[in-house]
């Protein structure tokens, strides 16, 4: 071993991009003339020692003293071979760290005086700790970099008991930048060297972790795609082998064939071709593929030019309509009219009808019957609760899961361009921020516009003008005016008792008996029984409850048969309590004795008509007018109008005017739980008040209806038929009605007209005179 402080003069071999560490072997390729000369000079000595110095600036080919670092490594050339005259391969072994003191010569090679520059020998606990930390970190780095060979290398690292050798060894494995390697070589102490290495390793571990993460992600991605690709290739190969077509191609071909076979309008044909082209170019996995496919399916399935032949024979149509429904003359007449028009002018626009009336009167089934009579397809949809315009017109195709609107879907289901399309419950359309479906209906139901109806989804014009639209509604006040304006209103009023009995005998009983498995021999329902069911077990304008009750009876009889009692049954009215339970409704029995202050009124409800008894009483010392019984605003106002009329005419009628000032008045309209509104009780209230003030009881067999004005005029009201039928049910013989409503009496069944007495009036005085016979002469003064 050389004396550690001996100054030596040695040739210098500058390295462009590397630092040689002591204890490490490094192969070098030497090509620069000065370097060759230096190596030869070293080899010409016995020691074969040379100083390996890193260049500060790797780009310099002929570095000067100032271009070199001053801390360098003394090395021994262990082997030398030449690959050519000017190229030398060396293996050098780093021996120790030296400091370059002074450059002695630069030609033909660099030569300098150097002195060994050993690190101070320190064995502090800090160095020990650093040593262990670096060893551990290095183990992790190796594990990450090369998971396959950790055993020996880790062992190797662990065996390096000298911290400097560990640092140098790690540096040689890490391929650090030149400046970092040089910093390691120049470290002032072992502690510094270890600290530097720790920092480098930490960075290295992070980089390696990231690298591994990226690599593994890239690999999974790659293998998934490759797998799919491979499977697709195999599938294709199998299909070719089997002589099958690519499924996508086959699908496109099929669609093309269908499109060409259909007689599509020009615009539709062009659009379909364009979409088909797009479909063909898309890979089947593309998200748009299914969207376009579904669209084309819809286009192909719509009946662009499919019509059903209309059955124009009027006699046949009449027969069918009569078969299915009793009465309803007005509606049937309208349908037959249209048939007649179609016969003369096949291009006639289809009418847009609106059936309105109480539930259960057969609006929906009438639509079906019309379709049957005309020989058209029938489709119906309910608009009840529909509150989104897009439900009718469809969503644009840009939305995920978009579909055509209900109208186009119904047309598709019908499969013809001229079906009977029934839009049920048009009065129960909702409306919210998403839009107003009623507004969309305006276009659909306008014969001028619906010739080219554009559904948002299809975005193609479809001719709806041949569609026979029928809408139904229970009440018209919730239907927007413009929509009403487009439709032809046909009223289906409630049925009278006679009509109900007739309908029950013709349709309901046979149907329910059949359902229960009985024939008309086994179970008979006499008229009296039906009457009892209608009056005591149902309260409706339509027939649903009646039919349900008949059904119950039929089942009870069927049960009896099943139990072995096979004798034919005729259900008597008195059997009903046993079979259907106690009556659901107490009959509005005529109030035989009416005290002064009670008058009989008539009301219209959605379920038919009702008899109302309006009661008025004086509240001595009370104040103002109190009205109770779930009264709406309009009805309250007509009560005030009635009171004001009497007050203003008190003198003529012989009532003390103070009676109005001193006492309060309470008007009550039972039944208290049922909401009531409308002006048609005005006349009745006036009568009740007049009867109260004049102390004369009103006739109990007379009911009245009509709006009252302050001057005593009686204005017309609606729903007369239902009201009259209700009056008759209650046993009232005479109905007082506004003169303008006289014409509505024609709607009443013949028998009702014959049985009852009607008194058309113009003014309230006429009403009072008729109802309050006791004070008739007093009332004469009014006229």
């Amino acid at each position: 071993m050389s004396d550690s402080n001996e100054v030596q003069e040695l040739p210098i071999l500058p390295l462009k991009n590397s630092v040689l560490f002591p204890h490490l072997l490094m192969p070098l390729a030497v090509g620069r003339a000065a370097s060759l000369a230096a190596a030869e000079a070293a080899l010409a000595t016995e020691g074969k020692e040379i100083v390996i110095v890193a260049q500060r600036e790797p780009s310099k080919d002929e570095p000067q003293f100032e271009d070199l670092y001053t801390i360098a490594t003394k090395a021994v050339i262990k082997k030398m071979a030449r690959s050519s005259e000017s190229q030398m391969e060396l293996i050098v072994l780093g021996v120790e760290r030296v400091v370059v003191l002074k450059l002695e010569q630069t030609e033909p090679y660099l030569k300098a005086r150097v002195r060994p520059y050993p690190l101070p020998d320190e064995r502090t606990p800090e160095v020990e700790a650093l040593h262990r930390a670096v060893t551990e970190l290095a183990g992790r780095a190796i594990q990450l970099a090369q998971p396959n060979i950790p055993a020996e290398v880790s062992h190797l690292l662990a065996s390096a008991d000298e911290p400097l050798r560990l640092v140098y060894l790690l540096a040689s494995m890490m391929s650090l930048e030149l400046t970092r390697e040089q910093a390691l070589l120049e470290a002032e102490s072992r502690g510094d060297a270890l600290r530097l290495m720790h920092a480098y390793l930490t960075n290295e571990v992070q980089v390696l972790e990231l690298r591994n993460k990226i690599a593994s992600e890239a690999q999974t991605e790659m293998s998934k795609q490759q797998r799919e690709y491979l499977l697709r290739q195999q599938l294709r190969a199998i299909q070719q082998e089997l002589g099958e077509k690519d499924p996508q191609q086959a699908e496109v071909e099929l669609l093309r064939e269908r499109i060409e076979k259909l007689e599509l309008p020009d615009e539709v044909f062009r659009e379909a071709q364009r979409e088909l082209g797009r479909l063909e170019r898309l890979p089947p996995g593309a998200p748009d593929y299914q969207v376009i496919r579904t669209y084309l399916d819809y286009v192909v399935e719509l009946p662009w030019s499919v019509f059903t032949e209309d059955q124009l024979e009027v006699g046949r149509a009449r027969r069918i309509l009569d078969e299915d429904h009793f009465d309803l003359k007005e509606v049937k007449e309208r349908i037959l009219e249209h048939l007649g028009v179609l016969k003369l002018n096949p291009e006639a626009k289809a009418p847009i009808l609106c059936f309105f009336g109480p539930p259960g009167v057969g609006k929906t089934s009438l639509g079906q019957s019309i379709a049957r009579a005309l020989g058209r397809k029938f489709e119906r949809m309910s608009l009840g609760g529909l509150h989104d315009e897009a439900e009718l017109r469809g969503h644009r195709r840009t939305y995920i899961g978009a579909l055509p609107g209900r109208i186009m879907q119904a047309i598709r289901r019908a499969g013809s361009k001229n079906p009977v399309l029934m839009l049920d419950e048009v009065d129960k359309l909702g409306r919210d921020f998403r839009g107003d479906p009623a507004a969309a209906l305006l276009e659909i139901l306008d014969p001028e516009q619906n010739k080219s109806f554009r559904d948002n989804y299809l975005d193609l014009p479809f001719d709806l003008s041949k569609v026979f639209f029928i809408t139904t509604a229970n009440a018209l006040d919730t239907v927007p005016r413009p929509l009403l304006d487009r439709m032809e209103m046909l009223r289906l009023a409630g049925y009278s008792e006679e009509e109900k009995i007739e309908i029950a005998k013709r349709y309901l009983i046979p149907r329910q008996l059949k359902q229960a498995g009985l024939n008309d021999e086994q179970c008979r329902l006499p008229d009296g029984t039906l009457k009892r069911i209608i009056s005591r077990y149902t309260r409706e304008a339509g027939l649903r409850q009646l039919e349900r009750n008949i059904g119950r009876l039929a089942r009870k009889v069927a049960l009896r048969h099943a139990e072995g009692n096979t004798e034919p049954v005729a259900v008597a009215p008195d059997d009903l309590i046993e079979m259907l339970g106690p009556p659901m409704f107490a009959q509005e029995e005529l109030r035989k004795e009416q005290p002064p202050g009670v008058a009989t009124g008539l009301a219209w409800t959605e379920t038919g008509g009702e008899v109302l008894y309006i009661e008025a009483t004086r509240l001595p010392g009370g104040k103002g007018l109190t009205i109770t019984g779930q009264i709406g605003e309009v009805m309250q106002e007509s009560a005030k109008a009635a009171q004001s009329y009497l007050w203003s005419h008190a003198k003529q009628m012989g009532i003390a005017p103070d009676a109005f000032k001193d006492d309060g008045i309470h008007i009550h309209v039972p039944a208290g739980a049922i909401p009531k509104d409308g002006p048609s009780a005005g006349v009745t209230m006036a009568t009740a008040l007049a009867s109260l003030y004049m102390g004369a009881a009103a006739r109990s067999d007379t009911a009245m209806t009509g709006e009252i004005t302050l001057t005593g005029l009686v204005l017309p009201i609606g729903g007369l038929k239902e009201k009259v039928l209700a009056a008759r049910r209650a046993g009232i013989r005479c109905v007082i009605l506004p003169r303008e409503n006289e014409k509505d009496l024609r709607d009443l069944p013949e028998q009702v007209r014959k049985e009852m007495e009607f008194l058309p009036v113009d003014r309230i005085e006429d009403v009072l005179a008729a109802v309050l016979p006791q004070v008739a002469e007093k009332l004469e003064a009014l006229k």
Binding site: H23, L24, L25, P27, L43, V76, R82, L93, L169
Partner: protein, 118 residues
């Protein structure tokens, strides 16, 4: 720019494995004799006087110097594979020498060392 040369730890190569980093390690054969041991060293170009043998218990250390005689007289070195300068080799034998007798014999570049219990 040339690729960065790869450095390797010297102790991975047995030929360079010595206690002292600068020393080289001659190769050797070992024979067991009836009365001791025979060690054959590949030490061509090393005069017997320059070889130093030390025996301590079962451990025998052979060291010395191989000089490159022609280095000075040649113009330039064209290739170099022989290791020069100080060498050292230590072997542990499975026996203890209390009072060893060592004889050296140089034969055609091979140094034969006989160690017997004296």
């Amino acid at each position: 720019m040339k690729d960065k040369p790869r450095q390797l730890p010297a102790f991975l190569f047995p030929a360079f494995q010595t206690q002292e980093i600068t020393h080289w390690r001659p190769s050797l054969d070992i024979y067991r004799m009836r009365n001791g041991w025979l060690l054959k060293f590949d030490l061509a170009g090393v005069p017997m006087e320059d070889v130093n043998v030390e025996v301590q218990g079962g451990r025998i250390t052979v060291s010395g110097v191989r000089r490159d005689y022609v280095a000075e007289e040649a113009d330039a070195c064209y290739a170099m594979e022989i290791a020069y300068n100080r060498f050292e080799r230590t072997v542990e034998l499975p026996c203890e020498f209390a009072n060893p007798a060592v004889t050296l014999e140089g034969r055609d570049g091979i140094l034969i060392i006989r160690v017997t219990e004296g």
